[in-house]
C-alpha cells in the first residue's frame, strides 16, 4: 500500500524521465518523487514565475464519479463537501473540502464537471482514505472510480498557455477554473486551467501510458523546464495557498482557515454538509482563530511549528514558513487567536528560542496571475 510508510515506494509514469533529468528523488506520500532537478529550487522557482515549469503531480489521486440511473452525482457529492457542486456547468471547476461533523477538514480537492461525470483531484497522502470515504458515502448514487494510475502534469507559468496551445490550440481560450477534453500527442487528455502556484497554468490529466511522452514533448519546448516538489512548495507558499496536513487538517475549520470563499451562499444558508452547524455558527459569531500571513523582519526563517508570541504570550503557531524567492525574503503563515488576527499586528516568531519580529499581513505574498479571459 502506498500509504504504508514502511512499504515499497510507488513510482509515477514519469519516474524514468526524472532519473534521466538528474532529479533528486525523495519519498513523498508513498511515492518516489523529484524534490529538485540539478539547477536547484531557486532557479526552478524563478523559471516557473518567468516562463513555464512542468511538474509531475501524478501521485495525486484522480477519481471519477458517475451518477447511477435516477441519481445526480453533484447532489450526492454535496452531502460530503460544502462547495456549490450543483452549480457547476459542464467544463467548470471548483475548489472544495471534505469536512468532518466537527467542521474539520479531511482533505481539499478540485472538482470538475464534464457534463457526464465529476472529476476529482485529491491529495496524494489522503487518496486512499478519500476513496474509501467517497465509496462509502456515495455508494447508493454514484459509481466511484479510482484513476490512480493516470498521469497528471502541471504546466505552470506565464508562458504555459503559449506552449500548450502549440499542442492543443483550444486551451488558449480556457479561463481559470475551467476544463476541456483535448487530444495531446494523440492521447485523449483532460486539461483544466488551474494549478498550485498562484500563476497562470494548466493541469493535464493523461492516460498512464501517454504521460511520459507528453512530458517529453512539453520539455522539448524552449520555455519549459522540469520543476520539483521543493519549488512547488515555495511557489504555493508565496501564493498563500494551503498545504493539506500543515495549514489545514481535521482540527481547522473552513472559517478559521479563511476558506469561506469556497462555500457559496446557498450552501452557507442551507447547510447539508458535515460540520455545517459549526460553520454557520462561526460565520455568525466569528471563528476562534484565523489563518494569517506573517512577514518576518530581517532574514531569519520561521518554519512550521514556530510559536507566535505577543508580549511573551503564545497566541498561535506557524503552519508553513520558508524563503519566498520572488520576494527574496522569508514569509510564513499560521493561526492566531481571533483578537490578534488583524493586519498590521506586531508579533514575535520564536526561531531557535529567539524572538524574530514579524507583522501580520494579507496574503497572497505574490499577486495571483490567473487567466480570467
Amino acid at each position: 500500500m502506498s500509504d504504508n510508510p514502511a512499504g515499497p515506494l510507488e513510482r509515477t509514469p514519469l519516474y524514468d524521465l526524472h532519473r534521466e533529468l538528474g532529479a533528486r528523488l525523495v519519498p513523498f506520500a508513498g511515492y518516489e518523487m523529484p524534490v529538485q532537478y540539478p539547477t536547484g529550487i531557486l532557479a526552478e522557482h524563478a523559471h516557473t514565475r518567468s516562463a513555464a515549469g512542468l511538474f509531475d503531480v501524478s501521485h495525486m489521486g484522480q477519481v471519477r464519479l458517475t451518477a447511477k440511473p435516477g441519481h445526480d452525482a453533484a447532489r450526492a457529492l454535496e452531502a460530503i463537501v460544502p462547495g456549490d457542486i450543483l452549480g457547476l456547468e459542464p467544463g467548470q471547476q471548483r475548489y472544495t473540502l471534505l469536512t468532518t461533523e466537527q467542521a474539520g477538514i479531511t482533505d481539499d480537492l478540485m472538482v470538475t464537471s464534464t457534463g457526464d461525470h465529476l472529476l476529482l483531484v485529491v491529495n496524494a497522502a489522503c487518496k486512499h482514505a478519500d476513496l474509501a470515504h467517497l465509496q462509502q458515502s456515495l455508494a447508493a448514487s454514484c459509481e466511484v472510480e479510482a484513476m490512480f494510475a493516470r498521469g497528471l502534469l502541471a504546466l505552470q507559468g506565464p508562458q504555459a498557455a503559449a506552449v500548450l496551445a502549440r499542442f492543443a490550440p483550444q486551451v488558449a481560450t480556457l479561463k481559470f477554473m475551467t476544463g476541456a477534453f483535448v487530444v495531446i500527442d494523440g492521447a485523449q487528455c483532460y486539461v483544466t486551467r488551474s494549478g498550485y502556484t498562484g500563476g497562470d497554468g494548466f493541469e493535464i490529466s493523461t492516460p498512464a501510458d501517454a504521460a511520459a511522452a507528453i512530458a517529453r514533448k512539453l520539455l522539448a519546448e524552449p520555455e519549459v523546464k522540469p520543476i520539483g516538489l521543493g519549488a512547488r512548495d515555495s511557489l504555493r507558499l508565496e501564493a498563500g495557498l494551503c498545504l493539506y496536513g500543515h495549514d489545514i487538517d481535521t482540527t481547522t475549520t473552513p472559517n478559521e482557515a479563511g476558506l469561506l470563499w469556497s462555500i457559496a451562499k446557498r450552501r452557507r444558508e442551507q447547510g447539508g454538509f458535515p460540520g455545517a452547524a459549526i460553520v454557520q455558527r462561526q460565520i455568525a459569531d466569528g471563528a476562534p482563530r484565523r489563518r494569517v500571513g506573517l512577514l518576518p523582519d530581517g532574514k531569519a526563517i520561521a518554519r512550521e511549528g514556530a510559536e507566535i508570541v505577543i508580549a511573551g504570550n503564545v497566541v498561535g503557531k506557524v503552519t508553513s514558513g520558508g524563503f519566498a524567492p520572488t520576494l527574496g525574503r522569508a514569509v510564513a503563515m499560521g493561526y492566531v487567536a481571533r483578537q490578534h488576527a488583524a493586519n498590521g499586528t506586531k508579533v514575535d516568531l520564536m526561531v531557535r528560542g529567539k524572538p524574530v519580529a514579524a507583522e501580520i499581513v494579507p496574503m497572497p505574498f505574490v499577486k495571483h496571475a490567473y487567466y480570467r479571459g
Binding site: 529550487i41 531557486l42 519549488a231 531569519a300 524567492p325
Partner: protein, 125 residues
C-alpha cells in the same frame, strides 16, 4: 601550508597558526541545495566541541553547524548575510562560516584528512 581536516558532519577546518576557519563541504552544500540564510556566531563567543554554533538554511530546511573543536569565535563571515549563495558557489572558499581561535590542537587529531573524507562520502552511497 595550512592543513585541512574534515568531520563526519561534513564540515571542513583549515588551521593557520592557532586560528581555524570552518565551513561546510561541497558534498554538504549539494545535499542542502540552495542556501538562503546563514546565521554565524558572535565574535568572542566561547564554544565547546560539538556545540551548535551556526545555522544554515536552504529553501527546504534549517541545519545546525557544530563547532568541530573548542575555542573562541574570532570572526563570522559577514558576507554571508547578503550572499548566502556563496556557500553553494564556493563552499571551501568565500562560503566559509566562522573562525575559531582553538584551545587545544589535539582535538584536531581525530578528524579526517581529505582522502579519508572522500572515502567516507563514497561509502554513504
Amino acid at each position: 601550508m595550512a592543513s585541512v581536516k574534515y568531520t563526519e558532519e561534513h564540515e571542513w577546518i583549515r588551521l593557520e597558526g592557532d586560528v581555524a576557519t570552518i565551513g561546510i563541504t561541497d558534498y554538504a552544500q549539494q545535499q542542502l541545495g540552495d542556501v538562503v540564510f546563514v546565521e554565524v556566531p558572535q565574535v568572542g563567543r566561547k564554544v565547546d566541541k560539538g556545540e551548535a554554533v551556526a545555522v544554515v538554511e536552504s529553501v527546504k530546511a534549517a541545519s545546525d553547524i557544530f563547532a568541530p573543536v573548542s575555542g573562541e569565535v574570532v570572526e563570522g563571515n559577514p558576507a554571508l548575510a547578503d550572499s548566502p549563495g556563496d556557500v553553494n558557489a564556493e563552499p571551501m572558499g568565500k562560503g566559509w562560516f566562522f573562525k575559531l581561535r582553538i584551545a587545544d590542537k589535539a582535538q584536531l587529531e581525530g578528524l579526517m584528512d581529505e582522502a579519508a573524507y572522500d572515502t567516507f562520502v563514497k561509502n554513504l552511497g
